[in-house]
């Protein structure tokens, strides 16, 4: 039985060995002649396709890079622009209005004032303005007396039609003498327009024709006093039916010049005088 099995296994092994030998002995075939040329042609075509695809992909990449670069440049410009604008705004906010606007103005008027030092009224008006307290006490302290003097001298040029047109916010005193902070109230001279219907009434009330009417571009216009007058600055508050004018007067008596504030209320063609509050 075992011998039969052994013989069977041996026979199977022999059969397998013969099969494998036959398979191993199958000779290798050479390539057909037509295959090489055909393959060469096909590969050449495929190569062209691949190169074209590569070129297209490369071009696409280049284009994408170019777009990215352009967008980056634009973004950088935008950022720089925004940064510049914000810096500009920050600078404007950081600088106090007094320093940005008052200082150049003061310098201007210093020059002008120095050209006409003989004008007595300038000094008078400067003193008057100081006593009037058109600027708050704090601000006076902050700005310094020198600067403020220059500013007051500048005001005296109202008589020469060179009144400053506008200034930044300054604390002023209203008709009742209470201090208020107003936008544009730095214009110490609330001016009367030449066409102000109350101008003649005020002149008549004050019994003087020596007001100099200074036309202004703004809605507010000025009436300033000539050097010979005693009244020089007028601050007006216009209402449709009632107008209040605060007028500073330099009153000279026995060679001593004193100041007097006069509040005039013009109502329905009549001028009333009101004593200013202390």
């Amino acid at each position: 039985m075992n011998e039969n099995n052994d013989n069977k296994f041996i026979e199977e092994d022999e059969q397998m060995a013969r099969i494998l030998k036959i398979l191993n002995d199958i000779p290798e075939q050479t390539l057909p002649e037509t295959l090489e040329s055909r393959l060469k042609e096909a590969l050449h075509e495929e190569g062209e396709k691949i190169r074209a695809l590569k070129a297209a992909a490369e071009q696409k990449t280049k284009k994408r890079k170019m777009i990215f670069r352009s967008l980056s440049t634009l973004a950088a410009c935008l950022v720089v622009g925004v940064f510049t604008v914000s810096m500009y705004h920050n600078m404007n906010v950081d600088l106090p209005a007094d320093e940005t606007e008052l200082q150049p103005m003061a310098m201007t008027y210093t020059e002008e004032a120095s050209t006409d030092t003989s004008d007595v009224t300038e000094d008078l008006m400067a003193d008057e303005a100081l006593s009037y307290g058109a600027y708050g006490a704090d601000e006076q302290g902050d700005l310094g007396s020198g600067l403020y003097t220059e500013e007051l001298k500048a005001k005296s040029f109202a008589s020469d039609s060179t009144l400053p047109e506008s200034r930044s916010s300054v604390t002023t005193r209203d008709a009742l003498g209470t201090e208020t902070t107003e936008e544009e109230s730095v214009t110490t001279y609330m001016m009367l327009a030449p066409t102000d219907p109350n101008l003649e009434l005020i002149k008549e009330y004050l019994k003087t024709d020596q007001f100099v009417v200074v036309p202004k571009e703004s809605e507010e216009t000025a009436v300033a006093a000539s050097p010979a007058t005693t009244g020089d600055a007028i601050e007006a508050e216009e209402t449709p039916k009632e107008a209040i004018y605060e007028i500073l007067l330099n009153v000279t008596e026995e060679g001593i010049t004193t100041e007097k504030t006069l509040i005039l209320i013009v109502k329905e063609g009549e001028v009333y005088e009101q004593t200013p509050a202390e």
Binding site: Q15, I22, D25, L35, L39, E46, G47
Partner: protein, 195 residues
């Protein structure tokens, strides 16, 4: 090492669509690839078509070659897969090929160029090979695959593992089963006459 560098350079050029570099690259493995295809397809024309299609696939997908195995092994793998695909598609149509032609008397003939043996031995050898190849077509594709690669083309177990994408152990066991199956098939077909 210089060969490797040269091959790497050719691979890089081929990846950029240089067909001349690709031709140089495949020159060394063309014959073996053709014979592998021939054993699978059993027809010169089909084998040539399969090889051409395989090589164009290789050229087109050169970017996918990462150098994880040898380049020629990668080519053989694509050749085997292409042949399997073509056989699957043409299974109902193809029955004969140039190697296994039927002669006037209706017997299978294997057209092989075998210079060494004597005419009698040649006849026996051709006849035997012819019968074995016929039986090879009757076993499963995965068994045929390993028999062709190992016993006809002489690839190593490692190469076969890389070509058919499985482990060396799997290859060995599969080859063993495939051989047993082939022997059984041969016996079934013509046991007394052939063996």
């Amino acid at each position: 090492m210089s060969t490797d560098l040269n091959e790497l350079r050719l691979i890089e050029n081929a990846k950029n669509g240089d067909d001349v570099s690709f031709e140089l690259l495949i020159k060394g493995c063309m014959t073996k690839a053709y014979n592998t295809a021939l054993r699978f397809m059993r027809n010169e024309q089909d084998a040539a078509d399969a090889l051409q299609e395989s090589l164009i696939k290789v050229f087109r997908h050169m970017e996918q070659f990462k150098g994880e195995c040898r380049f020629d092994t990668w080519v053989y793998r694509i050749v085997v897969n292409t042949c399997n695909d073509m056989l699957r598609k043409n299974a109902p149509l193809k029955e004969t090929d140039s190697l296994n032609r039927v002669d006037e008397e209706g017997d299978w003939l294997l057209e092989l160029k075998d210079p060494a043996p004597a005419p009698e031995a040649l006849f026996e050898s051709k006849e035997a090979a012819n019968r074995i190849l016929r039986c090879l077509d009757l076993i499963s594709a995965e068994h045929k695959e390993v028999i062709v690669l190992r016993d006809i083309q002489g690839f190593s177990y490692e190469e076969i593992g890389q070509i058919i994408d499985c482990s060396e152990g799997t290859v060995k066991s599969r080859i063993n089963r495939a051989r047993q199956r082939l022997r059984s098939m041969i016996l079934e077909q013509n046991e007394q006459e052939f063996v």
